[in-house]
């Protein structure tokens, strides 16, 4: 991996930075949209802690504004570190708040999947600092963190499929009902979910231990398709749920850049992490 990491070109670093920045940008904007619509923070403030509706309304809106400023801040050399740390703290706090508030199915899974996004700003921070220093010296942990993120996202998906996530079932039934002439029964949708779950878990394991190019393309395709279902099923008005899943595409894309860089490198064959295809 050391060989791979140090052999990445500056162009590659810039591409990784662009993808991570774009992913984080969309992801945080989606968060802000959910905050503006009213999210778990206002529920906890009003319901658990007795604050007024207007206080919680402005708290959520203020947080959304602060997050937007943080997003702007990541484009400046002087502020990007502070802003990315602030976003990290927010993401961790929000995921934990959601978990402890209850009220959502498969919370443990949501938490696992959310962990994969906690370090998204930190990955961006690391890539940005490499870019600013014009030194493509990625920490060996960087690639592992990307792989681990994808592993957690797809693992959570897979477990969701095995535990018959009701939303997934309704996506399948809704899709077949709305766009095809085939009428599926719940049992059949569940069987399909098992197959999808096996593929998801297999993809998750492979991405961590033995990634290859076709797998990375699959991850990008499947990450995009499953996110797209949020609006295919519940109309474009559900766009924030689609946008919030942009890391499901963005992170495999980062992996793809690494892969392409590896192919360009001369002494890639010594990489134990991304073996030659």
């Amino acid at each position: 991996m050391r060989v791979l990491i140090t052999n990445i070109s500056l162009k590659g670093v810039t591409s990784i930075v662009q993808v991570l920045k774009f992913t984080l940008l969309i992801y945080v904007i989606a968060f802000c949209l959910q905050l503006i619509k009213g999210a778990v923070i206002s529920s906890i403030l009003v319901v658990d802690n007795g604050f007024s509706e207007s206080f919680s309304f402005w708290t959520e809106k203020s947080l959304a504004i602060v997050l937007i400023f943080c997003l702007i801040g990541i484009f400046f050399k002087a502020t990007y570190k502070l802003c990315l740390w602030a976003i990290t703290l927010f993401l961790i706090g929000y995921a934990l708040l959601n978990y402890f508030n209850g009220g959502k199915s498969l919370l443990e899974l949501t938490l696992i999947s959310a962990i994969s996004k906690w370090w998204l700003p930190i990955l961006t921070l690391h890539a940005l600092s490499c870019d600013y220093k014009q030194k493509p010296n990625f920490s060996p942990l960087f690639l592992l963190a990307v792989q681990l993120s994808i592993f957690l996202i797809f693992m959570a998906h897979g477990i969701g499929c095995f535990s018959k996530n009701a939303l997934y079932i309704d996506y399948i039934l809704g899709f077949f009902g709305d766009y095809t002439s085939i009428t599926l029964k719940q049992k059949q949708a569940e069987q399909l979910l098992i197959i999808i779950g096996i593929i998801d878990i297999l993809a998750a394991i492979l991405v961590l231990f033995k990634p290859f190019k076709a797998l990375i393309y699959w991850l990008i395709f499947w990450g995009f398709l499953t996110s797209l279902f949020r609006i295919v099923d519940a109309s474009i008005l559900n766009y924030s749920e689609f946008l919030i899943r942009v890391p499901h595409v963005g992170l495999p894309l980062v992996l793809l850049i690494f892969w392409n860089q590896k192919n360009k490198a001369e002494n890639y064959s010594s990489s134990p992490s991304l073996p030659k295809s």
Binding site: G50, G102, K164, G174, A189, F209, S235
Partner: protein, 435 residues
């Protein structure tokens, strides 16, 4: 990095998550046997069937219900029925930290009951028995009746509101009001709870819900049977353990949809917004409406997440799914009234048909006021109008059903009338389905 170290890292991540749930060792030494939390649950045929559930501090060897139609419940002549399901209530670290005692659930299914009959019972674990309670079975003949409907009884009281650390003032008040209303009006037959009993269905929350639920018991120890809806705060195993509905519940908690035949011509369908809405449940809804709507002049439907929310985002996919999958059937089969929860506000929509306000449409009432702090609803939504009510007030709904008219009244926490209206029975002929 070597594959082994990656594996160790992933393993550590998963292990640390699992440790969040880890149970503490048992504390059941020197605990005095006690039975508590009596409740009666109605499912499909309340004129002949009921589930009696309770909690005990020790598992016991002999868990049973003694019941009879005579008030003094003689131990020799009373029927003895062993429980059908018992077990230890799951506890996680937070439950132990909160100080709730370890406990065990018990459920007994009473079958072949007589209609319109008062049954006296006590539930026992070994030689520890509860006092004698009573409940009344549903009739098998037509008669006027009423039921109480409401949802969202989690939290309340002082701030911050966590489990049992603060008294849940509003919930207790509403529960006492339910007892008083039942004492004043013997026609009240059941309490249809629309879901979100507590913040979670973990024991630190449910324990106090059961403690407070005892306040709904009348002075003469009458227990109002519960008709259970599953809400989005009931995803934990504690819900399956403590609200067992016989065949209706299953190990995946994707059951909890059924039709309660309250009188021969009046039924309440309970749906579950926390499982697939488009699958088996949709088939169930269509079958039950097709098969039973014509003979039921009154067909009420209750479920947790609203089709027409007063507080939360109208475009949220859960609400969208209720509108997409269930509402067309409600409209096709002309249900009498939809009872919703989840939003934490008092609401009654205008009658809605085909996504528009229409005098021939369905009225949706709700939306969760049994103790949870109330939110600010949005009265500007298209489905609210001059005949609506949209307020931020604790409440419950009382639905009083007569032959061809039903009165639907929202009562505030002081038993004050917040809103009242009448609906008329919509006789339904199978031929009248216009496809």
């Amino acid at each position: 990095m070597k594959i082994q170290s990656k594996f160790i890292l992933v393993f550590c991540c998963l292990l640390s998550l699992y440790s969040c749930k880890k149970e503490k060792p048992s504390q059941s030494d020197d605990i005095k046997l006690q039975v508590m939390h009596p409740r009666v649950i109605w499912t499909e045929k309340p004129s002949e069937h009921a589930i009696i559930s309770w909690t005990s501090t020790l598992l016991g060897k002999d868990n049973y219900v003694l019941y009879d139609t005579v008030a003094n419940l003689n131990n020799d002549s009373a029927f003895k029925l062993n429980s059908s399901k018992d077990g230890k209530i799951f506890m996680r670290k937070m439950d132990y930290d909160e100080g709730v005692p370890e406990a065990f659930y018990h459920h007994a299914e009473l079958n072949n009951l007589k209609p319109s009959t008062t049954y006296y019972f006590k539930n026992c674990t070994d030689n520890s028995c509860s006092e004698i309670y009573n409940f009344i079975t549903a009739p098998d003949k037509e008669q006027p009746y009423a039921f109480i409907s409401g949802g969202d009884s989690r939290l309340g009281g002082e701030k911050p509101r966590f489990a049992g650390r603060t008294p849940l003032v509003e919930r207790k008040k509403i529960n006492k009001m339910i007892a008083k209303m039942t004492e004043e009006d013997a026609s009240i037959m059941a309490f249809a709870h629309g879901g979100d009993y507590c913040t979670t269905a973990d024991w630190r929350h449910l324990y106090y819900w059961f403690e407070d639920h005892a306040l709904t018991i009348t002075k003469d120890n009458r227990i109002l049977p519960l008709i259970i809806t599953r809400g989005n705060h009931e995803h934990e195993i504690g819900f399956l353990e403590n609200f067992w509905l016989g065949e209706i519940s299953n190990e995946y908690s994707d059951g909890y949809f059924f039709m309660t035949q309250i009188t021969p011509s009046s039924a309440l369908i309970t749906l579950n917004t926390e499982t697939s809405m488009a699958g088996d449940q949709l088939e169930f809804l269509e079958e039950v409406l097709e098969g039973h709507r014509a003979k039921n002049n009154w067909m009420f439907v209750q479920y947790h997440k609203p089709a027409y929310p007063a507080v939360k985002d109208y475009d949220s996919e859960d609400f969208y799914h209720v509108r997409k999958y269930w509402v067309p059937l409600f409209e096709k089969y002309k249900i009498s009234l939809a009872l919703e929860s989840d939003g934490h506000a008092l609401k009654k929509t205008m009658p809605i048909l085909n996504g528009k306000v229409d005098k021939n449409g369905i009225i949706y009432v709700g939306e969760g006021g049994l103790g949870v702090p109330q939110r600010d609803p949005d009265p500007s939504r298209w489905y609210f109008g001059k005949e609506s009510i949209v307020e931020s007030k604790h409440h419950l709904w009382k639905v009083s059903v007569y032959d061809s008219i039903a009165n639907v009244t929202a009562f505030g926490i002081e038993q004050d009338t917040l809103h009242t209206f009448n609906i008329h029975a919509k006789p339904f002929l199978v031929e009248s389905i216009d496809n």
